[in-house]
Structures are given as structure tokens and as C-alpha cells.
């Protein structure tokens, strides 16, 4: 991760701030920084989203492809996560420098999507054992301002919401081969059900207290953090996975309380995200042409 | 090994020389080094030397699957290998910047220009096609690898024949050359690369740069061009910039050069074919006789006055004719040193074999006039016939000089001394003398 050099005095300042429940940027321990979200900004992709969480900038593009289901899961589609840490974020990512971090995030993300109740791969199946959709979720990290896990998962969820999978109108069986015909109308498409899609929340332990949405500086002060994957179903939150990172350790009680904190934060975050996505879609009409701001704003 | 850095004075010397329209090896600005092409005993192997730069090319083929997007076309791969054999600072198996660049330029010249008829390489669509692979090994790096490599690749491709096949249903039978004659590759056109290096804020371009010229130049231009004056690839880049005028001038010169080179390639191919049909021996044996020096560029003297010969005064001539055995040479060479210097400084008696241009020391008042003559030469150099004559003449001169080198080792050693002193210490020249002899 981008290494920011902090002096001991700065670290102490941040530490004391967190203790007082009054962080450097004025937030409490449970506050998120402001976010900007825009969907559908990459025209070559079936779905895309850009999320900016303060300084963290994530661009997600989703491409669809027809594939053959794996023989172990003949009735399931496939989803693949690929994270690229652009050197734009920091020169350390040049060449293969960002691969380790990218691997960590994509593994965590893939684990949280593994549960059938969180993300139903069966919906991506076209003909069991013959044809299925494969989703390539490609994530580009353009700037690192801390809290990558949360930002990535939110952006992916938004991009999945935006994804349009062409409708299969007919399937012809010709001996062993299957001929699919896809709808020509770009507006005639399937959407992905995103309500249950999990999001990740990082809870960062700074000193003796836990905070959500750590900035890059705060991440430097923390010895350990825990990432919880949370999926919403029937107005209840379910944990899909827990990932710990950092060198430090958690006391059992702290871990419990931080998971608790993560869950409640995720609930709120998810709610807000859905509202934002609905708003965005309403604003531009369901399939209406809209002005893309992208990076111009 | 790290590349030996080029010192500022070496660089300045080259730049200054070019400003005076001189080059270290005595070529004119527009002149190319002699190009020699040899073919191996096998189909598709060619050995090309451009001056001292050598490239060995080998084409091979195998049957394989075509790309899904182009199911009825064969594939062509070009791969250039820069090994420590060419120059010590090249690392084997590492993709250096230069390798990438040469590879891409060749790919653009041969693949993107569709010079090879890939459709004729199709055996059965979507299933089996011929995959051609051109492997280029740079044997010696003395500048302008790209030109040499492009000629080698083209020669090898034009020379190559792939075995004939018969398809019966699912079965594919590959015939040996004894059963059925192998089939040559169809080439739509013959592109070669021609390089220039620019100096003096992009106002002067010199053809066929050597290593030291490449390294002290400001920018370089590579034209991939065929004999029909069609550009196939163009690459210009460096630190300083060229006006579009120079570029256009160079491009038309490059076209003329390309035509010559292609003619030479065709002639070489014809000679090879003749030799084969007449059952004469073919192969690389001929190369062995070609040249003697084969070591690394930097360690050897890069300054050579090939086309200049001395008018020696009598004393000197006697001395050189007296010298018979190799062991004496070093001592005698040292003896003759003051003489040679005197000749050079006072009378400037270096005569060019080629166009009777007199070479005069820098401070002489004649130098302006001299430059003028060179310029005239440059302009007329654009025409085909002139260049051809020049080329032939050059070869004659080169042969003559090679002969002279053997017969008059001392005069050569002496002739280098005065000019060379400007940049080097004298120990190198002794090395050169002995090497020429060896």
C-alpha cells in the first residue's frame, strides 16, 4: 500500500484524536468520508462504475463473455475478479509492484462472493452444463487514499447494478454444439439482482479503539484491521467472510465489537448505496442517454 | 556487463567531424557500408553483413492452429536475439529496450505491411496452417542492427521453402523434399529498413550509423520501405527534433537505397539458385573467407580511413617495403610515426580514391571548398545510377584496401596515427595493426 511517511508526533496526534472520538478530519469513529459515484462511464464495458471516496479512486469495468460451466458446477455461471493497481496511484505500483496488494483484495472479494446466498451464480447459467455467462470484473485502482477494500466492494456492487447482460432469445441444439442467438436490441437485456451482494467494511484498530473508513494516514497508525464482508437478506445482515490484515492482533472482545461495528456500518452503507444507485438511474431515465462526467468534473 | 559509457570528448569528436562532413570510417554522409549476403545450405538461412554488423537469420516452420479471428491465414513470428556475442553489454534472454524496439520495427515492416502472403500458408482452414518463425541472431554489433536484421529476415524469407503437404480427409501428410519439391513462400513485396541518424539540431542526417555514431546522434529515423517506394514502417525518435523537410528528403533517399538493396538481394538469390541447380557447393563456407576481424566494436579502433591512401614519400615507401615479418612491425610502426605526422600536417596528402577529393587538415583554407564538393556529391547521390556506381566502386575500393592492408601494414598503421591521436591513446592503434595482420 502506498507508504506515507509519518513522524511519531503525527502518529501520536492521530492516535489521541481517535481516542477522543474526534479524528483529524473532524469525523467521529463511525463516520465515512464523502463519496462520489457514477455508473456507466466506460462504453466498451457491459457495466461500469467509478467511485471516489475522498482520495481513493476506483474504476470498475465489467465485461461479459459466454463460457462453458465447470464440470463441478454445471448449473452455475462464473465470475472473476481482477485488480490492477495503476502506477498512477503511486510509483511503487510500477511494473509488478502492486500485484501483492491486488491479490489480497481480489482474494477477499472473491471469498465474500463465494456464498450462494450472497451472489447467486445460478442466475448466470444459460444452459446447464453447456453454456453460461462469465463476468469479468476488472477493477482499476487509480488513487489510494486509504480504505481500499470498502471502496472496491462498493464500486463493484455499483458496476454490477449497472451491468446489462444481453438477453438470450433462442438456443439451437445442433448435435453437440449449442447455437445461441442474442437479442440485437441493446436495451433488451437482463440485469443482475444486487440486493444481496456483499460489501466489505474495514474496521481499523487504532490504539484501543476501532474506526471505520481509515484514511491513508490512519492506516499507517494501525497495527491491525479486520475486513468484514456483509450481505443483506430479509433486512438482516449476514457475515460472509472475515479477513484480518496487518501485523497486530485483536483481543476477543475487541474483535467482537469491531465486527459489530462493521455490521452496523455495512447496513447503513448498503442502504445509502442502493438509494444513490436508484437516484442515479431515475435521474437519467432507465435507458436514457446521459452526460458522462467521468474525470472531467 | 554494463555498457561502457561514451565519453564527452568522443561524442564531441564525432559531432564535430560530422559538422565538417567527415565520418570516422571515411564514408560520405550518404554512404552505406558494404552489404554482403550469403545463404546457408538449408532453405531459409541467411547471413548478412553490413560493414562489421552481422546477423544470422533462420526461418523455420511448423503446422499449428490459426488464430480464431483469421482462420485461413498462416502465422508469422519474428524474433531478434541480442546475445552477449554481439556486444558484451547485451544480456542473454532479457528483453531490453533495444530488443523490443527492433522486434517491433521488424514486425511492423514484415507483418503489418502484409509482405508475406499468409493465406497461401493455410493448409486447412480453422485447423492447420503453417507457422513461420524467423529467428534472427545478431552475431556482431557494429551499429545499425535494424537494417542488417531486416535484410537478413527478408533474405531468409525469400530463400525459405516449406515442405509440401497433401490433405486427404482428416489426414495431413507432410512430404519430404525427396518426395515432393518444397514450396517457396509468396512475398507480395520486398520491404527493407533503412536507418539514418541526425546531427546538428536535426539538420544533417547520416546514413547507416555505426555504434559510436548511433550513440552520439540526436535522433534516429528508420524507414521500412520497399522497392516500389512504398513506406511500410516509419520510426523516428530521439532527443532532438527533425524538421519535416529533412525527413522527406531522407525518405526519398531511403527509397532509392531500398531499391538497390532489394536488387542486391534478388541477385544474391539468383546466384544461389544457380549454384544449387549447377550442383555447386552452397553454404556459409564462403563467409569464412570474407573478413578477418570479428571482435567487439569498442575494443577495436573505430577510426579508419578506408578510402584514403597516402602518397608516401620515398623514404617511407622504402621503409615499408623493407618490412617483411610480422614481429618487426610494431617497432617499425613506431619509428615511422613522426614521418607520417609530418606528411599529414604539412602537405595534407591524403587522396581519396573515390572522387579525387583532397582531404586537407582542418586549419587549411581549402576546407570550405572541400565541403562544397562533398555537398555536390550528396545531391547527385540521389539518382539511382550514381549510387549504384558508387556502390560498385566502393566495393572495389574496399577490396583494394583489404589487399593493401595485407601488403602494406605499416603504411596503414601510420596513416591512422595522426588523426586518431585526437581521441585515443596510441596503444589502441598498435592493437589494430596487429589485428589487421592476424
Amino acid at each position: 500500500m502506498a507508504n506515507i511517511l509519518l513522524s511519531d508526533a503525527e502518529k501520536t496526534f492521530i492516535l489521541h484524536g481517535v481516542e477522543e472520538d474526534f479524528r483529524c478530519d473532524g469525523r467521529t469513529r463511525r463516520d465515512y468520508r464523502p463519496m462520489e459515484l457514477e455508473t456507466g462511464i466506460v462504453s466498451h464495458a457491459s457495466g461500469s462504475a467509478r467511485l471516489r471516496l475522498a482520495n481513493t479512486d476506483i474504476l470498475v469495468g465489467i465485461k461479459t463473455e459466454i463460457d462453458v460451466p465447470s464440470p463441478y458446477n454445471i448449473d452455475k455461471g462464473k465470475i472473476e475478479f481482477f485488480i490492477d493497481c495503476s502506477a498512477n496511484a503511486t510509483p511503487e505500483f510500477e511494473g509488478r509492484g502492486g500485484e501483492e496488494l491486488a491479490q489480497e483484495i481480489s482474494d477477499t472479494l472473491a471469498k465474500s462472493y463465494q456464498s450462494g446466498q450472497a451472489f447467486d451464480l445460478r442466475k448466470l447459467c444459460i444452459l446447464p452444463g453447456q453454456q453460461c455467462w462469465k463476468l469479468y470484473v476488472d477493477i482499476l485502482i487509480l488513487e489510494c487514499g486509504g480504505n481500499l477494500f470498502d471502496a472496491v466492494s462498493l464500486a463493484v456492487k455499483a458496476a454490477l447494478f449497472n451491468t446489462k447482460i444481453p438477453r438470450v432469445t433462442a438456443a439451437l441444439m445442433d448435435g453437440g454444439n449449442v447455437d445461441l442467438s442474442l437479442s440485437d436490441d441493446p436495451y433488451d437485456c437482463n440485469r443482475i439482482e444486487i440486493n444481496q451482494i456483499p460489501i466489505l467494511v474495514t474496521v481499523c484498530k487504532i490504539g484501543d479503539s476501532c474506526v471505520v473508513d481509515p484514511s491513508a494516514e490512519e492506516e499507517q497508525c494501525s497495527a491491525a484491521s479486520v475486513v468484514v464482508g456483509v450481505s443483506q437478506r430479509d433486512n438482516k445482515s449476514f457475515l460472509t467472510n472475515i479477513h484480518m490484515c496487518g501485523v497486530g492482533s485483536f483481543h476477543q472482545e475487541t474483535l467482537e465489537s469491531s465486527v459489530e461495528l462493521g455490521l452496523s456500518a455495512a447496513e447503513k452503507l448498503d442502504e445509502e448505496l442502493l438509494i444513490a444507485l436508484k437516484l442515479e438511474e431515475e435521474r437519467f431515465g432507465k435507458y436514457g442517454k446521459k452526460e458522462i462526467f467521468g474525470f472531467l468534473r | 556487463m554494463k555498457e561502457t559509457p561514451l565519453s564527452n570528448c568522443e561524442k564531441a569528436f564525432v559531432v564535430q567531424a560530422i559538422k565538417e562532413r567527415l565520418r570516422l570510417d571515411g564514408r560520405k554522409l550518404e554512404e552505406f557500408r558494404p552489404l554482403k549476403i550469403n545463404f546457408g545450405a538449408e532453405w531459409g538461412s541467411a547471413h548478412v553483413t553490413l560493414g562489421e554488423t552481422r546477423v544470422l537469420a533462420q526461418v523455420s516452420c511448423e503446422l499449428g492452429q490459426p488464430k480464431a479471428t483469421r482462420p485461413n491465414e498462416g502465422l508469422l513470428y519474428i524474433n531478434v536475439e541480442l546475445s552477449p556475442m554481439a556486444a558484451l553489454h547485451f544480456e542473454a534472454g532479457r528483453n531490453s529496450e533495444l530488443t523490443v524496439q527492433i522486434n517491433r520495427i521488424l514486425e511492423r515492416t514484415f507483418k503489418d505491411s502484409r509482405c508475406v502472403d499468409l493465406e497461401s500458408l493455410c493448409v486447412s482452414a480453422e485447423d492447420k496452417v503453417w507457422i513461420l518463425r524467423v529467428d534472427l541472431n545478431v552475431l556482431n554489433h557494429e551499429g545499425n542492427i535494424i537494417d542488417c536484421a531486416s535484410v537478413a529476415a527478408l533474405c531468409a524469407l525469400a530463400h525459405f521453402k516449406h515442405p509440401d503437404v497433401t490433405v486427404t480427409g482428416e489426414e495431413i501428410k507432410i512430404h519430404t523434399s525427396a518426395e515432393k519439391d518444397p514450396i517457396p513462400i509468396v512475398l507480395h513485396h520486398y520491404p527493407v529498413c533503412v536507418s539514418y541518424a541526425t546531427f546538428q539540431n536535426g539538420e544533417v542526417a547520416i546514413a547507416d550509423p555505426t555504434v559510436i555514431e548511433e550513440r552520439s546522434s540526436e535522433a534516429n529515423m528508420v524507414f521500412g520501405i520497399n522497392s516500389y517506394r512504398e513506406l511500410c514502417c516509419l520510426n523516428l525518435g530521439g532527443t532532438t527534433l527533425t524538421s519535416s523537410n529533412l525527413l522527406l528528403q531522407c525518405s526519398s533517399r531511403a527509397a532509392n537505397r531500398a531499391k538497390q538493396v532489394v536488387d542486391q538481394i534478388k541477385a544474391a538469390l539468383a546466384t544461389d539458385a544457380e549454384a544449387r541447380s549447377a550442383d555447386q557447393s552452397v553454404g556459409f563456407t564462403e563467409c569464412l573467407k570474407m573478413n578477418t576481424i570479428n571482435s567487439l566494436a569498442q575494443d577495436r579502433l573505430s577510426l579508419r580511413l578506408r578510402r584514403f591512401n597516402f602518397t608516401l614519400d620515398d623514404d617511407f615507401r622504402n621503409m615499408s617495403s623493407n618490412s617483411a615479418g610480422a614481429p618487426d612491425i610494431k617497432a617499425e610502426g613506431d619509428d615511422s610515426l613522426p614521418d607520417a605526422t609530418r606528411i599529414d600536417e604539412n602537405t595534407g596528402l591524403l587522396n581519396s580514391n573515390q572522387s579525387n577529393v583532397r582531404w586537407v587538415p582542418e586549419d587549411s583554407s581549402d576546407s570550405d571548398e572541400d565541403e562544397h564538393i562533398f555537398e555536390k556529391g550528396d545531391e547527385s547521390g540521389g539518382a539511382d545510377s550514381d549510387d549504384k556506381d558508387l556502390e560498385e566502386e566502393l566495393e572495389n575500393v574496399a577490396e583494394e584496401m583489404a589487399y593493401k592492408r595485407q601488403s602494406q601494414p605499416i603504411s596503414k598503421g601510420g596513416s591512422q596515427q595522426p588523426v586518431k591521436r585526437n581521441i585515443d591513446n596510441s596503444s589502441d592503434s598498435e592493437e589494430e595493426t596487429t589485428m589487421v595482420l592476424g
Binding site: 474504476l59 502506477a87 511494473g95 487509480l142 467521468g294 474525470f295 | 523490443v100 530521439g238 519535416s244
Partner: protein, 249 residues
């Protein structure tokens, strides 16, 4: 030949432009806060982000005592093309592009001003629709300006091609690149009318070169005026916010 269709009888191109028209260029300086300089540039549907770090101390082994090292990386988002790319960088084409960018930018930067230093220029292509090299160069120029690095002048790049065998086209899109003939990419310093870099592939008769080159250079001129306007607007915005640095007035 597919070449014939590039220009209709009315003189319109596939996307409705005329032969000598550029695609719409929109750009913004300073999109990111972490890099020392950054820029975003859209040329039609080609979208490029550039970030500049430096000048900073060069690592020991690379350090050059007389001039700055320009270090580039060109990478394309895997979703940037019609077909998904397997990896964002490291293939031959992007390596070549990296080298080309490096050459171009070195020609524009006043390298002698920053001895023993290094400037990193990172290019990220978000969407590729022809003229990637040109958009990258233009974006890099803006990012360098945003980073406050001394340039000799603007360096702009533009493509040109030939339609119907004799009409030069300016600023070629991907569709035209694929269906048409050769494409010439030129990076120039338009103020002094010098060429910093030039690249071309596919077949193309030499007689057409002056014409096409001329068009590409004209394109560079036009792009320069667009970039210049963007820089001035950006500076006005930044400058007025700080009252042109006259805080202690």
C-alpha cells in the same frame, strides 16, 4: 477495398466528421491530488489518464549526472478495448509504446535542468478508440505542465491517414484504423514546427507522405491551441482561488 468507404461522396467520414476535423477533445488538469501532476484527456472515445511524479532523486544505478531520467509506463485498463485484454501492460506493444512515449517526452522536457533526478510519467488508457499514442502524449503534456516541469514547448501528437487513396484524414478513430490503410502518428512541437517522434505502419506510397504528414502536423497545431486554452483556464481557476498568490496584499 474497404479503403473506399472511409469517406462518403459528401465528404463525410464514418463518424460524421469531415476529413480535416479532429474529434472532440476535452481535458482537465489536476484530477488527482496525490501525484505531483495529473491530467485527464478525452479525444473522441479515447480516454486517457496521466500522472506525473517528480522530479525526485533518481535511484543510484540509473542516476545521470547531466540530465533527468524520464521514466514512463504505458498501461491499458483490461476493459479498455472491445475485446478484454489479458493483462494491462508488459506485452510487446505496450512496451513499445512506453519507449515511444519516453522518447517523445524527453524531446520536450528541458532535461538538462534536472540532473541526477527522475520524472515518472504514468499513463493509463481507460478506453481505447484509436490514436492511443496521441491521446497519451497530449495527456502527458498536460500532466507535466500541471506538475510544473519545464518544457521547451507544448508537445502534441496527432494521427493522419489516407482515405480513397488520396484524401488525407486527420485524427483517425479505431474503426478507420482497422478498416483503412496506413496510419501515421506524429508528435511535434508545434510552435517551432519540429517533429519529436513519428511512427507509421502498413503500406503506403512515399508520394503521399508529405501530404499526410502535413495534415498530421496541422492536427498537432490545432490540438496545441486546445491544450493551451485548457491550461489557461485551469490556471485562471487555480490562480483566482489564491488571488494570484497575492495573499499578503
Amino acid at each position: 477495398m474497404a479503403n473506399q468507404d472511409l469517406l462518403s461522396d459528401q465528404g463525410l467520414r464514418l463518424d460524421g466528421r469531415r476529413a480535416h476535423e479532429l474529434r472532440r477533445i476535452r481535458c482537465k488538469l489536476g484530477v488527482f491530488s496525490q501525484p505531483d501532476g495529473s491530467a485527464y484527456l478525452e479525444q473522441g472515445n479515447t480516454k486517457v489518464l496521466a500522472a506525473v511524479y517528480g522530479p525526485h532523486q533518481a535511484p543510484g544505478k540509473k542516476s545521470n549526472h547531466s540530465e533527468v531520467i524520464v521514466n514512463c509506463q504505458y498501461s491499458m485498463a483490461v476493459f479498455s478495448t472491445g475485446e478484454r485484454k489479458n493483462r494491462p501492460r508488459g506485452d510487446r506493444k505496450s512496451q513499445e509504446m512506453t519507449i515511444h512515449l519516453q522518447q517523445t517526452l524527453r524531446a520536450a522536457i528541458k532535461t538538462e535542468l534536472y540532473p541526477r533526478s527522475q520524472i515518472d510519467v504514468f499513463i493509463e488508457v481507460l478506453q481505447a478508440d484509436g490514436g492511443n499514442y496521441c491521446a497519451s502524449v497530449n495527456a502527458a503534456t498536460l500532466a507535466l505542465i500541471d506538475a510544473g516541469i519545464c518544457l521547451k514547448e507544448y508537445v502534441c501528437a496527432c494521427t493522419a491517414s489516407l482515405a480513397n487513396g488520396n484524401v488525407p484524414l486527420m485524427d483517425v478513430s479505431h474503426l478507420e484504423e482497422v478498416s483503412g490503410g496506413a496510419t501515421l502518428s506524429v508528435a511535434s512541437l508545434p510552435s517551432s514546427n519540429k517533429i519529436a517522434f513519428m511512427e507509421m505502419s502498413q503500406r503506403f506510397h512515399l508520394d503521399h507522405l508529405p501530404k499526410v504528414l502535413d495534415h498530421a502536423l496541422q492536427g498537432c497545431q490545432q490540438i496545441m491551441s486546445i491544450l493551451d486554452k485548457a491550461v489557461r483556464e485551469h490556471l485562471a481557476l487555480v490562480g483566482s482561488a489564491s488571488d494570484w498568490g497575492n495573499i499578503a496584499k
